[in-house]
């Protein structure tokens, strides 16, 4: 029976990234995917004839440029088109738009507050500075602060040296940034509610925290770290939907001789003598490999796909206590035409980017309170985009595809489990909210796919539908992610690795966990790249 050099469980973008790096280094790698299609949560799917849905992740920016170069993703079909700003529609009929053009942006902020227009440049400079500091850490393995190995000591020393290099003022600002709430951070700069509300949106996406919770400033940053064509903080659409990201990774992987098997669900990771030796598929078939690499989140990997006897008890306890909270939902909508948004003036390019209706931080925080109480936000945060305005391949001529990300949606409802009726009620809440700002919206809907946390979990395998495979809170970042002492992509079982977003530096279509895991594996294999 064939023994692969490596088995990767899950053809999400991180699994494919790891697989491609290993195959490129000459290893014989197979990727096993439960679904009949690849991509995990980075997929393009035709769920309504003629329309392409990016039905999970929907925008692209965090993908590390180093990975795009190493794996030659553009040559394998990835094209990212930047979009031009966003807009928040306000309850009073006004709007607030952001633009890539600095002067235009400044004028728009000044329309709401002259003070804030002045402050925005300082805010931008500080955020960028924090991004630069953290960005260097994305593609490095977190050092273990408890270890005395030279490698960890040097790693710590390197961070300390870079930190010290920031100078006194910036050092303090950096520490503050990592620990404070988004609201406190924005309050330092801005006075206008809508400006703060618009900016705070990114601090809650995918997160079971409100903008008033300490630690949420970091999530804001996490979403700012992206870059498109070297322009930091900008976002774009993958041409052809997010499936183009996983598609190009798969093409790259296969060009190095890799093998992908879809519709192959892994039921258990086989461990013999404390070594991972292969996997058992749900049909009973076994696939053997010299190592097993899991792209699944840690709960699914260790708690669901392994025999507890194969793992240290303490480790399993910590895995079970790792916080992966479902907090998001999604609607994918096929539209018969372009909906009117009367509050957005003609020609405002914000329409092509992210559109919101949450015009204050309190709006977001109250949404979070509903989540804590076990109900979806009655006034949800809605991140809607119409990618077909930028990428005409997504919908038939004259028609449009709309992606609607919704925060907050709890996996456990206070009044019983999710069912079809509740899903429909949730969808109605969102559609009604959009219709408040778009009179003809409802008439244009041809098809709407409503996704609760469980729908996301059932399709992608993400526990509770958490898009980051684990909360991005301080206790779960860097050397604490996913479990203190196991933050270097190695599991407590030999020849078993983790490469998903449960590991440093976390979620988003970034590829960094996948690339980092590959680097550690090649280090263990003593393969030089």
């Amino acid at each position: 029976m064939k023994v692969y050099d490596a088995i990767v469980i899950g053809a999400g973008h991180n699994g494919l990234t790891t697989a491609a790096y290993l195959a490129k280094a000459g290893m014989d790698v197979i990727v096993l995917e439960r679904q009949p299609y690849i991509g995990g949560a980075t997929v393009s799917r035709e769920l309504y004839p003629g329309f392409t849905y990016s039905n999970c992740s929907y925008v692209c920016s965090l993908m590390r440029p180093e990975i795009m170069r190493d794996l030659e993703l553009p040559r394998h079909g990835l094209q990212v088109i930047p979009y031009e700003g966003g807009v928040t529609m306000m309850r009073n009929g006004d709007y607030f738009a952001t633009y890539p053009n600095h002067d235009q942006n400044r004028r728009e902020i000044a329309r709401h507050s002259a003070h804030d227009a002045e402050a925005y440049d300082y805010f931008g400079a500080e955020t960028l500075r924090q991004c630069r500091f953290i960005k260097k850490m994305l593609l490095t393995t977190p050092p273990d602060p408890t270890s005395f190995k030279p490698r960890d000591l040097f790693g710590l020393l390197d961070i300390a040296r870079r930190f010290h290099g920031l100078g006194e003022e910036w050092m303090y600002d950096t520490i503050r940034f990592w620990t404070m709430s988004c609201a406190d951070f924005l309050d330092q700069y801005f006075e206008s509610e809508v400006v703060k509300g618009h900016l705070a949106g990114t601090s809650i996406i995918g997160t079971a925290l409100g903008p008033y919770s300490p630690g949420s400033a970091y999530v804001l940053l996490h979403h700012y770290m992206g870059e498109v064509d070297g322009s930091i903080g900008s976002w774009g659409y993958a041409r052809g939907g997010m499936g183009a990201v996983s598609g190009s990774l798969a093409n790259s992987f296969q060009s190095y001789g890799g093998e992908i098997r879809t519709a192959a669900e892994v039921e258990q990771i086989i461990v013999k003598n404390n070594r991972a030796v292969g996997v058992a598929l749900s049909g009973g078939e076994e696939v053997l490999g010299k190592m097993v690499i899991s792209n699944m989140d840690v709960k699914r990997t260790f708690d669901k796909s392994m025999d507890p006897a194969d793992l240290p008890e303490d480790f399993l306890h910590r895995v079970r206590n790792f916080k992966i909270r479902g907090s998001s939902g999604k609607l994918n909508i096929a539209l018969d035409g372009l909906p009117d948004f009367p509050s957005i003036p003609d020609g405002c390019r914000g329409r092509t980017g992210d559109m919101h209706v949450s015009d204050s931080m309190e709006y977001l925080e109250r949404g979070y309170d509903d989540w804590k109480d076990g109900t979806w936000s009655r006034e949800p945060y809605i991140d809607m985009m119409i990618p077909s305005l930028t990428d005409p391949t997504m919908a038939p001529p004259g028609k449009h595809y709309m992606s609607v990300f919704v925060q907050y949606v709890p996996p456990y409802l206070a009044d019983g489990q999710w069912n079809d009726e509740k899903r429909a009620a949730f969808g109605k809440t969102v559609i009604d909210k959009i219709a408040e700002y778009s009179p003809n919206f409802k008439d244009l809907i041809l098809h709407a796919e409503v996704r609760t946390p469980w729908d996301i979990e059932n399709e992608t395998g993400l526990t509770e539908g958490n898009i980051f495979q684990g909360e991005l809170t301080m206790d779960q970042l860097m050397f604490n992610r996913p479990v203190p002492g196991y933050a270097q992509y190695r599991a407590p079982v030999k020849n078993l690795y983790m490469c998903g977003s449960s590991t440093h530096p976390g979620g988003g279509v970034m590829g960094a966990p996948g690339a980092n895991a590959a680097r550690e594996i090649l280090l263990d294999m003593r393969i030089k790249t």
Binding site: P145, T146, H164, L166, G167, E168, E169, M171, Y172, I175, R176, T179, M180, D184, Q188, L209, Y212, S213, P214, G215, N321, K323, E362, E365, R366, D369, K372, D373, T473, M474, D475, F479, N480, P484, G485
Partner: protein
């Protein structure tokens, strides 16, 4: 100007407990010290007040749990009259049906737990041991002046190295746990380890007492650790009641300061810190009187010290911005009830009424109470910490009468619509909440007083009515408390120092900030 009589080595603005401690240390070192207190008696927020004729209560702080044993020894507070009426206060988490949980001080276990859960007793003991080990590490750093980042000074570098080494010395497992848990929220930690809602609610409430956090807010484990650094009678994490109320503690401190040669002038509010040739050289009182000194030490909070007493004209704009951004939004109100007899609580005997009583039946209860506060509303079902000090100390009230002193959360500093109209409603809400556990309480009330954060601000001159002089958040701690560049008790102006809770290590009647400031001042004096 009479140089000799009106000339001091140091003037301390504010006779709160930290100011008095600082005065005592400086006095013992031979300095001529003057403490200027605005109120009629020293003590600040840890003084007694007679809120109704014959009824004396600890004005703001009402439980002694953090007084530093070294400070207590150095100042010989016992010989100056400090005695504990109850050296090891128990905490009783109240249940409406009378099935309460009792535990010692903070987190110790008790058999009543087994009523609720088979495993909680052992798990709580484990959690307590871990938290106390981490708390002990914090405590070691509380007694030292924080280092400054990014300087070329070797003493700063050595202090940082010491910090790193102390964390390493915890051992691999505890160190990992500490690095993880400090940023956690208390709700997660409790839900991971414990079952009983009542127990989790009580500990969760302890973690957010006096802070602008709910149990689900990250950072709330830290504020519990802060409380656990305290001790009473040598028992870590324990709570105590001083005989004669908290005023007895500050009276003993004032006596110690005077014994060390310090002068204390009450009724003397300071209007301005005087600056000459870029250094602080004295103060002007509100009466216009000018007093000179080599150095000025402010026990006032940082916002008052830098923005009001000193004035931004002497400071960098960046520094002023940081001071303005210190978060000082108080959330706790203080309720005082004068009672014509001992109230009856369901399931408690008269002796148990002398313990600390908590109304925080679950984590969700506390979190929901917190929700209101975020939007400038008061909690409609508040979480409450109560003591009836007269059970152990009858002298505080007229014969046969009693006092109920409570911290009621959450009462936001900025209430929508203002506190003036809402005060009575909120008192009623609090009394109704307590009455669910103590039927018949209402009939016993003969006088009532509520101090909202606004009142506390006005009365005790703490901005936002925040009893820590600034939120105890990770970004406002240690070398960043109160603000970077002023976290070593020295202001960015020669001759000016701070010694209040706004500096490291924060609030609670500890006296450590006062002691650390004195250390720093004496060290600077030597190098001068």
């Amino acid at each position: 100007m009479t140089p000799a009589a009106n000339r001091y080595d140091a003037i301390i603005i504010g006779g709160g407990h930290n100011g008095l401690v600082c005065a005592a240390y400086l006095g013992s070192a031979g300095q001529r010290v003057l403490v200027l207190e605005a109120a009629a008696a020293p003590g600040g927020a840890a003084a007694n007040v007679e809120f109704s004729p014959g009824f004396t209560v600890s004005g703001c702080a009402h439980i002694l749990n953090m007084l530093d044993p070294k400070v207590s020894r150095d100042l010989n507070l016992a010989s100056h009259g400090l005695k504990l009426s109850l050296p090891n206060l128990k905490t009783i988490a109240l249940a409406e049906d009378g099935r309460h949980i009792t535990f010692d001080g903070a987190l110790a276990t008790n058999d009543s737990l087994q009523v609720y859960s088979k495993t909680d007793k052992a798990n709580l003991a484990d959690l307590r041991r871990l938290l106390l080990r981490i708390g002990k590490l914090l405590k070691d750093f509380y007694g030292t002046v924080p280092p400054r980042l990014g300087t070329e000074s070797w003493s700063d570098r050595i202090a940082l190295a010491k910090l790193g080494w102390a964390i390493r010395r915890l051992g691999r497992n505890d160190m990992r746990e500490m690095l993880r848990i400090a940023g956690c929220n208390i709700a997660d930690v409790l839900n991971d380890e414990l079952e009983s809602d009542l127990l989790k609610g009580a500990i969760g409430f302890d973690a957010v007492l006096g802070t602008e956090l709910g149990p689900r807010s990250p950072n709330s484990v830290f504020s519990l650790l802060h409380r656990l650094t305290g001790e009473a009678n040598g028992i870590p994490g324990a709570l105590a009641l001083p005989e004669g109320g908290m005023g007895a503690v500050t009276r003993a401190m004032a006596a110690a300061a005077e014994a060390a040669g310090a002068d204390i002038r009450t009724g003397s509010p300071v209007a301005r810190i005087l600056v000459e040739n870029d250094r602080a050289m004295g103060v002007a009182l509100e009466t216009g009187e000018v007093i000179h000194a080599d150095i000025v030490v402010s026990n006032a909070d940082p916002k008052t010290t830098y923005l009001k007493l000193l004035g931004p004209q002497y400071l960098d704009t960046g520094f002023v911005r940081r001071v303005k951004n210190i978060r000082t939004r108080g959330t706790a109100a203080k309720l005082h009830l004068a009672l014509d007899g001992l109230p009856e609580f369901t399931g408690l005997d008269a002796k148990e009424l002398g313990q600390r009583l908590l109304i925080a039946p679950s984590l969700d209860y506390v979190e929901r109470a917190f929700n209101h506060c975020k939007y400038g509303e008061y909690s409609t079902a508040p979480a409450i910490e109560m003591i009836i000090p007269t059970v152990n100390d009858a002298a505080l009230a007229p014969q046969g009468k009693h006092i109920l002193s409570a911290v009621v959360q959450y009462a936001p500093y900025e209430l929508k619509g203002g506190w003036e109209n809402a005060r009575d409603e909120f008192i009623d809400t609090a009394i109704k909440t307590i009455s669910a556990y103590a039927p018949g309480l209402e009939g016993r009330i003969i006088a009532r007083e509520l101090l909202t954060p606004r009142d506390i601000e006005e009365k005790y001159r703490m901005p936002g009515g925040h009893w820590h002089h600034g939120e105890l958040a990770l970004d406002q701690l240690y070398m960043m408390r109160p603000v970077p560049g002023a976290a070593q008790y020295a202001a960015p102006l020669p001759g000016l120092y701070t010694c209040g809770a706004g500096g490291h290590p924060g609030g609670g009647v500890m006296g450590i900030a006062g002691k650390n400031a004195a250390d720093r001042i004496l060290k600077d004096g030597k190098s001068r």
